[in-house]
Symmetry: C2
Subunit: 343 residues, 2 copies
DNA sequence: GTGGTAACTGTAAGCGCTTACATTTGATTT
DNA sequence: AAATCAAATGTAAGCGCTTACAGTTACCAC
């Protein structure tokens, strides 16, 4: 056991196989360029040594990593999971690896994570939402790292990063419109924090637009903003129900807040949807597990993820320029929404 | 606009600041070794150029990446999220970055992801559970990448990767023991798939042990194994309730399956816990959102994540050898468990 | 046999960065 | 003002890999 203890390198493999490093590199990257015999000998050496290429060196020499990064606000729940899963699957089909970093909805952390991923050689990036400093986009441009934004669209700004997402405002506007159409006049909105979160901002704008559509005053909207979480949703619901006139429908910026709201409603002995209607947004699996099942907005998570991946890959391989796409959402009527009742 | 279009390198910065590359490198890595004036000049050049260090090159030259990787079965739900979050936070405190890869509970994918992370220069790894090929551990050893296993412990095998987790078997044994103590005699277990998943296997073993403890036959356990998911839980519950003697308590391998089971019970018009008790495992947030709130096993997610991070960091900095730790779990009695009732 | 060609394989020049070591600078001391 | 030494900076040698280019072989057609 006088084993060489250092981590084996290409050169070690080459030596053991009695070939040059170039040949080893070839069998690793384009096996068909090497004679079967040599290839096998090298393969054996690789196996014997337990050799694994040093990625850093490879990246440096080859200028591409076949990995794409995704920076998401949180892994704490399923909101981004489905889409990311599809994204990952599509990437995998094309031989790319996905690396995920999360930010906890913190802009500074996001900045750092994006830079970390780029520095680490991500060939491309998936970002959530548009709201981040101009500087970051400049940085990406300078580093020549293509990026695509999902979970949102920005129709107005042609110069920004392309987005493959959906129209948060329009979706919420439709849902709120439907709620109002049912006869609700006193609406409340429990929103995620809007600073740094354009999806939340857009959704609120959607509710206001719907109010305006129906000739109601957006100012009458009872509004509470809260961090993300079940408990936060519960607390916000209690707050909102304490207002007068008491809302007959409580729209929530996402399903998680809605779940918290629903729980609180039960705790308060309120019948849903008899005494108060509650809606969510995202249609994550949770929405169907709740009781009653949650009325919400369905987002094409998987489609979005896959399309984003294909767009990025298409761009990386030079097949097509990156372009935006807007996917459709739909309202999923389940059992937490009904016309305003007694009281 | 005759901007140099190439990505700026250390040398570019050095040239612009009128210093050597060594100096630039120093202001980037140990600013205090550089005169304030120079430092500032370099900083300006960095900013002007929008320079960002090439990670690959840095890794290669410096031999460490300050990043640790985590390979988890799935991001589709909150099971690993809490622990990972804590893991990440602790890493962050020490200047490390976390990179996450998921496997979809597929051993081959896991193998690939682990290698990818190592190749990418992860200084250390967080793994879930013990069940994977010996070869992988050899690989890690050879690459000198320390790893720690979480969500499980393996008391018997001293040679393996150290683990910072909890005793799945014992935890489940206690829960099942409690259920039996309540008077239940007909138990069912809805388990996650056991192949490749030692946590699930251990939990099942725990139920069997509890049965044996009380002098009941482990063979009488109604057992269904299913992939992960709400719907899967529902289906499994229906299967299990079709068996005779009909179980009065249905233990689930995790909270997600339990949530599905609970929904199915409602769909079948079964009162929980009046007609049938249901329990989960993990105590993810979801457990409290369900109605009725789920009786389950609390796992010290955050503690586990943090301790794993600290252990890894301690090892990387040479402060302490990696060693195992077993954390305590506890039974959380909520409202889905009661003594067997009528019927 | 020869020359020509295709198929392999080797040589060596970087990729962008860190860092040991050498050199220069500038205080401080005498 | 010379000597001394610490602080600041520069020089240059790699880190492990890819790849353009050059050199070898092996094989065929003539």
């Amino acid at each position: 056991m006088v084993e060489e203890t250092a981590i084996p390198t290409l050169a070690d493999v080459a030596a053991r196989a009695g070939v040059s490093t170039a040949t080893v590199s070839r069998v690793l990257n384009s096996p068909d360029k090497v004679a079967p015999k040599t290839r096998e000998r090298v393969a054996r050496a690789v196996a014997d040594l337990g050799y694994s290429p040093n990625f850093g060196a490879r990246v440096m020499a080859a200028r591409q990593t076949k990995t794409v990064g995704a920076v998401i606000p949180t892994m704490e729940n399923a909101i981004f999971a489905k889409g990311l899963q599809a994204f990952q699957e599509a990437l995998h089909e094309y031989g790319y690896t996905l690396l995920v970093a999360s930010t906890g909805y913190d802009a500074e952390v996001e900045d750092a994570q994006i830079r970390a991923l780029v520095a680490r050689g991500a060939d491309a990036l998936l970002l959530i939402g548009h709201s981040r400093g101009r500087g970051l986009y400049d940085f990406l441009a300078r580093q020549e790292v293509p990026a695509v934004v999902t979970w949102a669209v920005r129709p107005d700004d042609a110069g920004a990063v392309p987005s493959i997402g959906f129209d948060n405002r329009q979706a919420m506007r439709e849902l709120a419109g439907h709620v109002i159409g049912l006869g609700h006049r006193h609406l409340a909105l429990i929103s995620a924090e809007i600073a740094q979160n354009d999806r939340a901002a857009e959704r609120r704008a959607g509710v206001r637009a719907a109010l305006a559509d129906k000739g109601l005053s957006p100012d009458a909207l009872i509004y509470v903003e809260t961090p993300y979480g079940f408990d936060e949703g519960s607390v916000a619901f209690a707050q909102v129900m304490a207002k007068r006139p008491r809302p007959t429908a409580v729209l929530c910026g996402n399903d998680v807040l809605a779940a918290g709201a629903l729980r609180q409603a039960r705790a308060m002995g309120l019948d849903v949807p008899g005494e108060v209607s509650i809606t969510g947004f995202d249609d994550i699996d949770l929405a169907q597990i709740l009781h009653p099942p949650l009325t919400t907005v369905r987002v094409p998570h998987r489609d979005m993820g896959r399309q984003a991946a294909l767009a990025l890959i298409g761009h990386l391989t030079g097949a097509a320029p990156l372009s935006s796409a807007t996917l459709d959402t739909s309202i999923v009527l389940r059992d937490t929404l009904a016309p305003p009742g007694h009281t």
